[in-house]
Structure formats: structure tokens, C-alpha cells
């Protein structure tokens, strides 16, 4: 809790304020985290895949296939492209709208709403050091103790 910290430390923290660039970076990181597909990396990626995945296509019970199929690994290498590369390529393939980028929804015309970063209820106040929202003194205290300037994006 804030009250347990010495006044000097508290004052030092108070004077620190995140600049606009840092705030924008933090906001961008938060959105990126929300759009993550795989939150976890596979800790056994090297260990398991080659041996343990059953090769359905190779099984001789399979009635439908005559020729020998190519491995999953082959297609991984054959079509390997990152999302960023694909978006970049699209700029030449579909240079004029409509395309993937142009289809993105424009910003809303309705006013933005603000919610407490701690409890999620509507908030009326902004934390001075970091710009987060809070609804009450209690939530501000929690915010200062847990997040605010404590995690750096």
C-alpha cells in the first residue's frame, strides 16, 4: 500500500510522468496483446511435432489417397510468409481499394467512454502520471500499487 512507503519515495514517484510517446506505446502494446492469436509459445515445439503427430495421410488404411503425400513440414517451407510480408505484398496485388487495409472500420463517431482500469466501472478521473482511468480513491490506490509506473511497456 501507498501508506507504507516513505514520503520521499512517494514524492519521487509522483514527479515521474509518462510522456505522450510512452503512453501511446503502452496503449499500442495493450491492443497488440488483445489481438494475439497464440498467447503461449509451445515449450516443446522442437521435441514433439516430428515424431508424435500421427501421419494420417501415410496410413495404409486410408482409402482415398493413391499417391504419397507431402509432409506438413514441406508445406511450411513452401508457403512460408509472415503476416507482415503478406500485407506488404497485398499492396501491389490489390493496390487500389477495396482491399484488406481499406476495409478496416473507420473510427467511431460516438464519443469515447472511459472505464476504471481497476474495477471496470465508468470512471471520471485520470491518473496524472500515466493517463490511466480510475473511479475512486480506493481504485487509484490499487492502481498506483500494482500498475501505473510499475510495469513498463
Amino acid at each position: 500500500m501507498t501508506s507504507r512507503e516513505s514520503g520521499r519515495v512517494k514524492d519521487a514517484e509522483r514527479r515521474k510522468v509518462l510522456d505522450d510517446v510512452a503512453r501511446k506505446r503502452r496503449a499500442r502494446k495493450a491492443v497488440e496483446a488483445l489481438e494475439q492469436d497464440n498467447f503461449h509459445e509451445d515449450p516443446h515445439a522442437d521435441l514433439v511435432m516430428s515424431k508424435k503427430v500421427p501421419k494420417f495421410a501415410d496410413s495404409n488404411e486410408k482409402p482415398t489417397r493413391k499417391k504419397k503425400s507431402k509432409s506438413a513440414e514441406y508445406y511450411k517451407m513452401r508457403f512460408r510468409k509472415t503476416f507482415a510480408q503478406l500485407v506488404e505484398e497485398d499492396a501491389s496485388f490489390r493496390s487500389k481499394p477495396p482491399n484488406y487495409l481499406s476495409a478496416q472500420a473507420p473510427p467511431s463517431k460516438f464519443p469515447e467512454r472511459h472505464f476504471c482500469a481497476v474495477c471496470g466501472f465508468p470512471s471520471n478521473y485520470t491518473c496524472i502520471p500515466c493517463g490511466a482511468r480510475y473511479c475512486s480513491v480506493k481504485c487509484l490506490g490499487t492502481h498506483l500499487d500494482t500498475r501505473c509506473l510499475k510495469w513498463t511497456a
Binding site: T64, D90, P98
Partner: protein, 394 residues
């Protein structure tokens, strides 16, 4: 040439909907999963049913940001789907309808064409957007000229207007909020407020499905959620699965501490409706885009004006997020308040919003023109991939 049935694969980023046109569809997780309890065994697609303990389950997905990029994963899942273990098929004598995302990237389209003609040896292939199948399904029963298809899935939500059966591409809108953002946000806020569940995507996705609803009056529900005691009709506890006596969690009323059954629970209050709210206000979490009703209006207003009335009267919703209780009514209320009074607004939520596009595939197969929509292996061998770009309007 005409076959008695075709194989339909609605290849979503989260689930694949698969089956023959003369039977029912199956819903298969389109991913490989690994469990903490059985570290050395991957679960492919519906093999997840064999997993006894799904805590700490994680996904290896073929799709990233809504596009197919991990081909090794996808090939493994497809091999599973086409095998005896799932839904076996012989593409030599069965045409294939497979769905792709709108504005799918060119090299992914080429890869799709190549893999289905060369690896899976398809004789007849139709690559198509899932929204096209949904629109076909809707037009079949409504005999209408114009439709707005709203596909709210795992990676994003698409608003696609159709005029006389054709996509009006200039007015297509993508909102970068889907089921994934909702689950990630729920994970994040629960982990901060109560219990670290960052590694429990699978369970928290179920919490979301079992607990969340779309509010009819957002700020009124916020006031209710602030109340203490019986006046708060929103606050509930979610009993988490322990995988010995309970395989799937459930929502229950709060019990007094003395009646506590030593179950591990999560307290859900404003989370229950502020999560689906992101579909209506993406800016609540800093995604600066319109929500669904505003985007529907924006899309319709980007179409030629003479179709406005027709489009507003034929809006169809499908995809996993449309299953939230209250979803349809909220879209209706919001669109109604944004549209001019003298227009009718009609919003349809089909009985099974998950397989609605897949069902459309059944009917498109019966279209007398079906084979003219397809590309054959012979055509592929003679003219190659460029023909696929002409034939398929992805």
C-alpha cells in the same frame, strides 16, 4: 458431370465446419492443442475429446490475424479431418467447397489452389468466402435482392453488403474485434482483478461462452452491477472445472460463505456484459473502430442509395459471437435508432449461427450453375493458378 454430394469445408480460424452436402456438418477445432496433463501428446482437431484434463491447454493455430499462415499446422489438421478418424473423403469423385477469408492474400490463394489440386487431388474445387455461402442461404429463403451479411467470428467481424447476389466490395467493413479479442480481454482483467488465468485460454473461453451477455442498456446494467446484495441481479460465481468431478464449469448464484462448497470460483460482475460490449464499442479497449451497428449503417450508406431500404430490411447475423444472449436485439435496437424512421429494419439470427454458411454450401451445390463456379483439375493443369484468380471472387 454431376455428383450426388459434395464435401463442404468452412475453414474458420477457430473451428472448421465440415461434412458432405447430403448429411450434417461437424464442428472441429481447427488447431492442434497441447495439455499440461499430457505433455507429449498433441491433440489434433476433435481429438480434444480424448483429453482428460484441459487445464493449461494451449493452441497451435493455422491462422494468424485471420489468415492462414502456419501451413504445417493446417496440413496436419486437414489430414486429420479428411482421414477415417474424422470425416473421410475421396476428392477424386467428390467436389470440394472450401471457404477463405474476404480479401484473402494472393499467395495464400495460390497455396490453396496448389494444395487442393496437387496434394489432395481434387477434381472439382470451389473456393469461396463464407459470407457468399451465407448470403446464398439467406436469399434462398427470403427471395430478396439485397442482403447485409454480418459475420462475427474468432478473428474479426465483417459487414458485407450484397446487391443482386454480388458482394458490393467498396462497402465491405472489417472490425478487428472477434471472439479472440473478447477472450483475451476477459483473461487479462480476471488475471488482474482475481486470479492469474493467463495460461487458461481454453477455460476462459468457456467462461465467456457460459457467462457473458449483450446488455440492452449498458449504463443501467453498470448501475445494477454496482449494487450490493440481492438487488444486484448480475453478479454470479463461475465454478471452474477441476477435471475430476467437473469437466466444464458453470455459472451459479453467489452463496453465503458458510455454504461454500470449496469449489474454485471466479466472481463475475460487470465483466459479464462489458466483454461482449467490445463488439459494439471497440474503443472501450483502445481499438479505434466503429462497433457493429454503426459499421452496418456506414456500410449501407456506402452502397448506392436506391438499395438502402432493401439492405436495411435484410440483415443476417452469424458466427460464434452472435450466440451471446441479447446480441440480435441489441443490433436491432442500435440500427433502428441510427436508421431513418420510415425504413423497416429486419435483423435475422439463424437457428444455428455457427453452421449457417456451411448450410449455404449445401444449397449452392444444388444450384444448376454449380459446376460453372468450380475449377477442375484439368483446367488447373492446362491453365494453372492464374485461372483461379479469374474464377474465384475472393
Amino acid at each position: 458431370m454431376s455428383e450426388t454430394s459434395c464435401y463442404i469445408l468452412d475453414n474458420g480460424a477457430y473451428t472448421a465446419k465440415v461434412g458432405f452436402s447430403n448429411s450434417k456438418s461437424r464442428i472441429i477445432p481447427n488447431c492442434i492443442m497441447k495439455a499440461k496433463s499430457e505433455r507429449r501428446r498433441p491433440f489434433i482437431g476433435s481429438q480434444l475429446d480424448e483429453c482428460r484434463d484441459a487445464s493449461g491447454l494451449f493452441y497451435i493455430l493455422p491462422f494468424q490475424k485471420g489468415f492462414l499462415v502456419n501451413w504445417d499446422t493446417q496440413k496436419t489438421v486437414w489430414d486429420f479431418i479428411f482421414s477415417k478418424e474424422c470425416c473421410p473423403v475421396n476428392f477424386n469423385d467428390t467436389p470440394l467447397i472450401i471457404t477463405e477469408p474476404l480479401f484473402n492474400f494472393a499467395s495464400i490463394q495460390e497455396a490453396m489452389t496448389e494444395i487442393f489440386f496437387e496434394e489432395y487431388e481434387c477434381q472439382s474445387l470451389l473456393r469461396i468466402n463464407a459470407t457468399d455461402l451465407a448470403e446464398y442461404n439467406y436469399r434462398r429463403t427470403h427471395k430478396n435482392d439485397c442482403t447485409v451479411v454480418v459475420d462475427s467470428g474468432y478473428s474479426f467481424t465483417y459487414i458485407v453488403p450484397y446487391i443482386n447476389g454480388k458482394k458490393y466490395k467498396d462497402a465491405i467493413i472489417r472490425i478487428d474485434v472477434g471472439g479472440k479479442v473478447l477472450t483475451n480481454h476477459l483473461k487479462e482483467i480476471l488475471s488482474y482483478r482475481q486470479l492469474n488465468v493467463m495460461d487458461e485460454t481454453y477455460v476462459i473461453n468457456q467462461v465467456k461462452e457460459d457467462s457473458c451477455f449483450v446488455s440492452k442498456d449498458f449504463f443501467a446494467d453498470m448501475e445494477i452491477a454496482k449494487k450490493k446484495g440481492p438487488e444486484n441481479a448480475i453478479v454470479k460465481d463461475y465454478v471452474l472445472p477441476d477435471y475430476t468431478s467437473l469437466r466444464r464449469g458453470y455459472l451459479r448464484d453467489i452463496v453465503p460463505p458458510e455454504e461454500d462448497l470449496e469449489q474454485q470460483t471466479l466472481r463475475l460482475n460487470n465483466e459479464r456484459f462489458s466483454i461482449p460490449e467490445l463488439l459494439f464499442h471497440p474503443s472501450d479497449v483502445g481499438i479505434q473502430q466503429m462497433g457493429i451497428p454503426e459499421a452496418i449503417m456506414h456500410s449501407i450508406n456506402s452502397c448506392p442509395e436506391e438499395h438502402t431500404e432493401n439492405l436495411l430490411a435484410n440483415i443476417v447475423l452469424y458466427g460464434g459471437n452472435t450466440l451471446f444472449p441479447g446480441f440480435r436485439d441489441r443490433v436491432y435496437n442500435d440500427v433502428r435508432s441510427l436508421a431513418l424512421d420510415h425504413f423497416d429494419v429486419n435483423i435475422e439470427l439463424p437457428d444455428n449461427p455457427i453452421t449457417y454458411a456451411w448450410e449455404g454450401g449445401k444449397y449452392i451445390f444444388r444450384d444448376p450453375e454449380f459446376y460453372s463456379f468450380c475449377m477442375t483439375k484439368e483446367e488447373y493443369e492446362e491453365e494453372g493458378k492464374p485461372l483461379a484468380f479469374e474464377r474465384f471472387d475472393i
